[in-house]
């Protein structure tokens, strides 16, 4: 049986936080209570064009006394197309439809000595809630026992890359968790000058990589490079994917990626079998062509 619900939500806040990057808070009664770090939900405006909902990762749930159940569901979005452009026009009190929580989330991560979170651009959004649970600052979902931190915050690192300093969003939120944060920008305006995967590769060479679990979220070329780096160095790697999705809950079979099977490859739905996958299970490129 499915564990998600659909609800209409009032917008509580919606404001820019970085270049083309906004954060929106929703008065959610159903999704906010259930969602776990690494899960996502679908957001849709009540109109026929654009027609479909779009998936957004949980950023955080915050205490919000004026909300129906005293909780606000927050997501952070990059303006990339028509729907995200329309989202920026919403004001507090406006309504939209959401359904969730969806996907497996970070509960599927295996235990490890160290946990390294690697974010590319808007791929940073799933990691805040995970860090909050690790520090004990927040508990997510209906079963608080699942929220027991599996890593002391001292064994957690985060690498966050963006195209320039102007695109780095919500740094204060991440810093406040106490995580050791390393930044990278393509133009060198802050931190390492170049792809975020390169400082990860360099750091993995300095430690016993077999004790490190690397978790990546970001653009596909970055994730591919990250998986290669981890394989070369001997670190385990999990990736949180995003693919074109029509429904988000397993009905449409659109969002598939190619995974290795005993006799070659098969497709799996990112929305129900992911979005978090063991990188070793994925066929490179995800299209299945490499596996045929």
């Amino acid at each position: 049986m499915a564990n998600w619900l659909a609800e209409r939500c009032r917008v509580l806040w919606n404001r820019p936080v970085a270049e083309r990057t906004w954060r929106m808070g929703l008065d959610s009664s159903a999704v906010a209570l259930r969602i776990r770090p690494g899960q996502f939900f679908m957001v849709r405006l009540d109109r026929e064009d654009p027609l479909l909902g779009r998936p957004y990762a949980l950023y955080q749930v915050v205490e919000w006394p004026s909300a129906t159940l005293g909780k606000a569901l927050e997501f952070v979005y990059l303006v990339v197309g028509r729907q995200t452009a329309l989202l920026t026009e919403l004001r507090p009190g406006d309504e939209l439809d959401i359904w969730g929580p969806l996907g497996n989330g970070f509960d599927v991560l295996p235990d490890s000595q160290e946990l390294w979170l690697v974010a590319g651009g808007i791929g940073q959004t799933p990691f805040l809630a995970l860090l909050q649970e690790i520090t004990g600052a927040r508990a997510y979902g209906l079963s608080p026992d699942r929220a027991r931190p599996r890593w002391p915050i001292g064994s957690v690192r985060m690498f966050y890359g963006a195209r320039s300093a102007r695109y780095l969003a919500c740094l204060g939120d991440f810093k406040s968790t106490g995580v050791r944060l390393s930044l990278a920008t393509d133009d060198g305006s802050v931190g390492y000058a170049g792809p975020v995967t390169e400082p990860v590769a360099a750091e993995l060479a300095r430690v016993d990589a077999s004790e490190v679990l690397v978790v990546g979220c970001g653009p596909e070329p970055m994730l591919r490079r990250l998986a290669d780096v981890c394989r070369e160095r001997g670190a385990r790697c999990f990736l949180s994917l995003e693919t074109p999705m029509a429904c988000g809950y397993g009905a449409c079979f659109s969002c598939v990626v190619s995974v290795r099977t005993g006799d070659g490859h098969d497709y799996r739905r990112v929305c129900v079998d992911g979005p978090v996958f063991d990188a070793e299970w994925l066929v490179e490129g995800g299209s299945g062509k490499a596996g045929q």
């Binding site: 499915a2 849709r44 909902g53 074109p244 009905a251 497709y267 299945g288």
Partner: protein, 306 residues
């Protein structure tokens, strides 16, 4: 008259539905994906994703692309085959407390007949819908573009099962009427239409189709006028129930299809962007019937005046 005097029951041949709202094949997965969030027991029935004789991996992604007021898809009948369906999905579907209509597609007449034979002895199967019209199966044949092929397939299926047979037809033809007539003459108990409209989305900078498989099938509100036209044409041409499909997302859409000649409707793409739409439309149907003084669905069916 009050809403309590209104009955929503409809009959599709020997199949009795508590109301005419069904969920279309390919738009509700195997239904367990939505149970808990969607009150499927409120529906007239559900039609799980197409089952084929052998497992199919489906088409390479991207499998869907959004177009104005529509969705272009090329999933490619990704499914694990009839054995897996009967073993793993059917037991869960039997527990749903609504009608389960199983949609099948074969690559040959013999495969269609075999699929029907396999389902014939299964409890919990209310009817079989024949997917004669999926546009996304490479190497396969779209049987429902030709009356003779349609007749041959439906006839073979009729000989393989006593379950009600619904022939699902394509709009990708000059005239759907001769094909519908052939299906009914060969033993179909009902006609459902339309399947998706064949289309193409282009990424002109890369000079490539936006879908991994190239062509795809268009669905959603964009195709509703085409679907209404096909339903109206076919309902006047055949002497059996017609089930309308294509862009339905509101109670007005449902009523339009009933008036055009549909005795039941299937909700398709709307399940993707409005997952609880089906039960909501069931709840709104009595009010819509009452507003025009109708006591039954049948009173409204095919009342379009030109």
């Amino acid at each position: 008259m009050s809403q309590a005097d209104i009955t929503l029951e409809v009959a599709i041949g020997t199949l009795k539905l508590q109301n005419p709202i069904l969920l279309a094949s390919g738009t509700c997965g195997y239904v367990h994906e939505m149970v808990g969030a969607v009150e499927v027991e409120q529906l007239g029935g559900v039609i799980p994703k197409t089952v084929t004789l052998h497992p199919r991996k489906g088409n390479p992604p991207p499998r869907t692309v959004e177009t104005p007021c529509g969705l272009l898809n090329s999933i490619g009948l990704d499914n694990d085959g009839i054995d897996h369906f009967i073993e793993h999905h059917l037991p869960a579907l039997r527990g749903l407390r609504t009608n389960v209509i199983v949609n099948v597609a074969g690559k040959s007449v013999a495969e269609f007949a075999e699929l029907c034979r396999r389902l014939d002895g299964q409890t919990g199967v209310a009817a079989i819908e024949l997917n004669l019209s999926c546009p996304n199966v490479s190497g396969g044949i779209d049987y429902a573009i030709d009356p003779a092929c349609t007749r041959e397939v439906v006839s073979a299926c009729r000989g393989s099962t006593r379950l009600p047979l619904i022939a699902k037809l394509t709009p990708n033809v000059t005239d759907p009427r001769p094909i519908a007539v052939a299906a009914v003459e060969a033993g179909a108990d009902a006609i459902s239409l339309i399947n998706t409209v064949l289309g193409l989305a282009v990424d002109w900078r890369r000079r490539k189709p936006r879908l991994g498989a190239g062509l795809g099938g268009l669905s959603g509100p964009a195709i509703k006028p085409i679907a209404l036209r096909c339903v109206w044409q076919v309902a006047r041409a055949v002497d059996c129930p017609v089930i309308g499909i294509g862009g339905i997302r509101t109670i007005d859409d449902v009523m339009e299809f009933l008036v055009a000649g549909a005795r039941a409707v299937q909700i398709g793409t709307a399940n993707f962007f409005d997952p609880t739409v089906g039960p909501r439309l069931v709840g709104q149907l009595r009010g819509a019937l009452e507003s025009i003084g109708a006591r039954t669905v049948a009173e409204v069916v095919g009342t379009l005046r030109l």
